[in-house]
C-alpha cells in the first residue's frame, strides 16, 4: 500500500497546520498518559472514583454473560455425566470433594489445637462475612491477575478486605465500585500472603507469579523446608488475612523455592466470601482501633511524599500501606532489618528513601 495521501499535505498551509496540530495533540496526550500512570504508581487509589464507576458500568455485562456460560457449562457437564453413567459419579465426586475439604479442615484443627495450647488466648478471630458474591470475570489479556466480583461498597466491601471461597483463599479487594469490586488474586505478581506450612509450621511468603502459580519464599537458609503436596494456610501475620484459611498446595520444588498452586480456583468457585480485615487496624480504616493492637510495620513500600499522601494514611500515623503495591526492587523486609522510626515523627523515612542522594 502506498503512503497515505493525507500525510502529504502539499502547499496548503491549512492542511499542514492541521497535521501538525494532530501530532502535537497526540504527543501531549502521551505526556498526560505518562503523568496519569505516574499518579497510578505513586498512589494506586488515586482514581478510585473513576475506576469504581467504570467497574459498576461494566460488571453487569460480565455477570450476565457469566450466568449464560455457567448455564451452558452446566448442560455440558450434565450430558457428560449421563454418558458416563454419571449420577453416581457426580455424587461420588461431590462427596470426595466434601471429604477432602473436611480432611483439610481437620488437619487445620489438629495443628491449631496444638498451637492454641501453646499460646492460649492470644488469637483475635474475625470470622464473620461481609458479603457473598460471584466472581464474574477476570483480566485474561494482561500479566495482572485481577478478577471482578459482583459486590461493591454498597454491600460493605472495602479496599483491602480478604476474599475467600469455600475451598480457600482467593485474594483481596483492590478497587471498589458501588456494586462491583476488583480483586487482586493470590496468583498476581503484586500479591504476597503470609502463610505457614501445615506439616511443619514453616512460615513463608506466598508471592504470585502471574501464571496461576505461587512462589513460596521462606526466610530460612539451607534445606528447602517444603515437600510436594504440602498444604499452606494463611498465618494471619500482617493482619489482613485471617489465619488458617487454606491458601496453596506445593506442586513442585525448584531449588531454594517451592512452586505452589492456589487451593481455590476462582474460575471454579461458585461464590466468593468477602471477610472483614483480620485486624481492622491493618487497613487503616477504623480510627478508634486500639493503638496496642497495631503491630510494628513489617511490610511496606516507601511512603509517598506528604503532599500526595492519601487520606486514610493520615488518620493513622502508624499505618503502613501494606496493601499498596511495593516498588520494584523493594520487597518485604524482616522486622529486624527495618529501622525503628523515631517517636513523634509523623512521616517515617524509609531506608530506600534515606539512601538516595539528596
Amino acid at each position: 500500500m502506498p503512503p497515505p495521501p493525507h500525510r502529504r499535505t502539499g502547499f496548503s498551509r491549512k492542511a499542514q497546520f492541521g497535521l501538525f496540530i494532530g501530532y502535537v495533540v497526540a504527543i501531549a496526550g502521551m505526556v498526560v498518559a505518562v503523568l496519569l500512570l505516574a499518579i497510578a504508581i505513586v498512589d494506586p487509589r488515586g482514581f478510585a472514583a473513576i475506576k469504581g464507576a467504570a467497574l459498576d458500568a461494566t460488571a453487569p455485562v460480565s455477570a450476565g454473560g457469566r450466568s449464560v456460560t455457567g448455564f451452558f457449562g452446566g448442560i455440558g457437564s450434565a450430558i457428560g455425566d449421563y454418558f458416563r453413567a454419571g449420577s453416581q459419579n457426580a455424587e461420588l465426586r461431590s462427596e470426595l470433594e466434601a471429604t477432602r475439604r473436611e480432611l483439610m479442615q481437620s488437619r487445620i484443627a489438629v495443628a491449631e489445637n496444638a498451637r492454641l495450647r501453646a499460646l492460649l488466648g492470644l488469637a483475635r478471630e474475625a470470622q464473620d462475612e461481609i458479603a457473598i458474591a460471584r466472581v464474574v470475570g477476570s483480566s485474561y489479556d494482561s500479566p495482572r491477575r485481577l478478577a471482578t466480583l459482583s459486590a461493591g461498597s454498597a454491600d460493605g466491601v472495602r479496599i483491602g478486605q480478604p476474599v475467600r471461597s469455600a475451598d480457600g483463599l482467593i485474594g483481596r479487594v483492590l478497587e471498589t465500585g458501588r456494586w462491583a469490586s476488583r480483586i487482586l488474586l493470590v496468583s498476581d505478581g503484586a500479591s504476597s500472603v503470609p502463610v505457614r506450612s501445615l506439616r511443619n509450621n514453616v512460615p513463608a511468603l506466598a508471592v504470585g507469579r502471574g501464571d496461576g502459580t505461587i512462589e513460596l519464599r521462606t526466610l530460612e537458609v539451607g534445606e528447602n523446608p517444603f515437600r510436594r503436596g504440602d498444604i499452606l494456610v494463611t498465618s494471619g501475620v500482617g493482619g489482613i488475612f485471617p489465619s488458617n484459611v487454606p491458601a496453596a498446595e506445593v506442586v513442585r520444588i525448584e531449588g531454594d523455592t517451592a512452586i505452589a498452586r492456589p487451593v481455590a480456583d476462582p474460575a471454579q468457585a461458585e461464590l466468593a466470601i468477602v471477610q472483614p480485615a483480620y485486624q481492622p487496624a491493618a487497613t487503616g480504616e477504623l480510627e478508634d482501633a486500639p493503638r496496642s493492637v497495631v503491630a510494628p510495620p513489617v511490610v511496606g513500600p516507601p511512603l509517598p511524599p506528604s503532599a500526595a499522601t492519601p487520606q486514610p494514611l493520615q488518620r493513622n500515623p502508624d499505618y503502613q500501606p501494606a496493601l499498596q503495591d511495593p516498588q520494584p526492587g523493594t520487597f518485604a523486609r524482616p522486622p529486624a532489618a527495618a529501622p525503628v522510626p523515631a517517636p513523634g515523627q509523623v512521616q517515617p523515612q524509609r531506608p530506600t528513601q534515606a539512601g538516595t542522594p539528596q
Binding site: 494532530g22 503523568l35 454473560g65 483480566s139 502471574g210 474460575a267
Partner: protein, 177 residues
C-alpha cells in the same frame, strides 16, 4: 434495502445517503469499541493467553486504512480500553498512541507495504505493546517473569490474519453502497 441488493448500488433517498454516510464513518470506531468490550467476556483465566482484542483490532484498522484516523484517535480509544480492562489509566492511552506514531513513521519511510509486511509490523508492535504492559505492571508491583507472556504474544500474532480478515470484510461492507 429494497429489491435485489446487487442492483441497488445507488442511494435512492436522502435517508439512505445518511445511513451510508454514518456507516462509512462509524464502522471502524464501533468495531474497535466492540473489540475493547470483549475484555468483559466472563472468562476467569489463570494465565494470560487470549489476545488483547482491542489493540489487535485498532492495529488492524490502522494498517489497513492509514487515512481514517490520526494518532489522537488512539488516545480516546485507549482511555476507554483502560477503563474497561482495569489497567492503570494511561497504559493503553500511552502504548496505543505510541504505536500510531511509530506506524506514521514507518509509513513515511516505507514506500510500500504488502500483507506480509503488515503482519511483520503488527508482530513487532504486538511484542512491544505486551512488553510495555508488562513493564508498567512491574512498576505497579506485579513482579512476574516476562516468559509467561510468550504464549499470549504468539497467539496474538497468529490471530492477526483472522483479525485482518474480519476488518477487511467490515471495510468492504462499510464502503459498499
Amino acid at each position: 434495502m429494497r429489491g435485489i441488493p446487487e442492483m441497488n448500488r445507488i442511494a435512492g433517498s436522502e435517508a439512505e445517503v445518511a445511513v451510508f454516510d454514518l456507516r462509512r464513518r462509524y464502522v471502524p470506531l464501533l468495531s474497535t469499541l466492540a473489540a475493547i468490550l470483549l475484555a468483559l467476556l466472563p472468562i476467569v483465566a489463570a494465565t494470560p493467553l487470549l489476545p488483547d482484542f482491542g489493540f489487535l483490532v485498532i492495529l488492524t484498522w490502522r494498517l489497513l486504512r492509514p487515512e481514517i484516523w490520526t494518532p489522537r484517535m488512539a488516545l480516546g480509544l485507549g482511555l476507554v480500553a483502560d477503563l474497561v480492562g482495569g489497567q492503570p489509566i494511561g497504559q493503553s492511552m500511552l502504548l496505543w498512541t505510541a504505536a500510531f506514531l511509530v506506524l506514521d513513521l514507518i509509513d513515511t519511510r516505507l514506500g510500500f507495504r504488502d500483507y506480509m509486511m503488515d503482519w511483520l509490523v503488527a508482530s513487532g508492535l504486538i511484542l512491544v505493546h505486551t512488553l510495555g504492559g508488562w513493564y508498567i505492571g512491574l512498576l505497579m508491583g506485579a513482579d512476574v517473569a516476562f516468559s509467561i507472556l510468550w504464549p499470549q504474544i504468539v497467539l496474538t500474532i497468529l490471530a492477526y490474519p483472522i483479525a485482518a480478515r474480519i476488518v477487511l470484510t467490515l471495510d468492504r461492507w462499510r464502503l459498499m453502497r
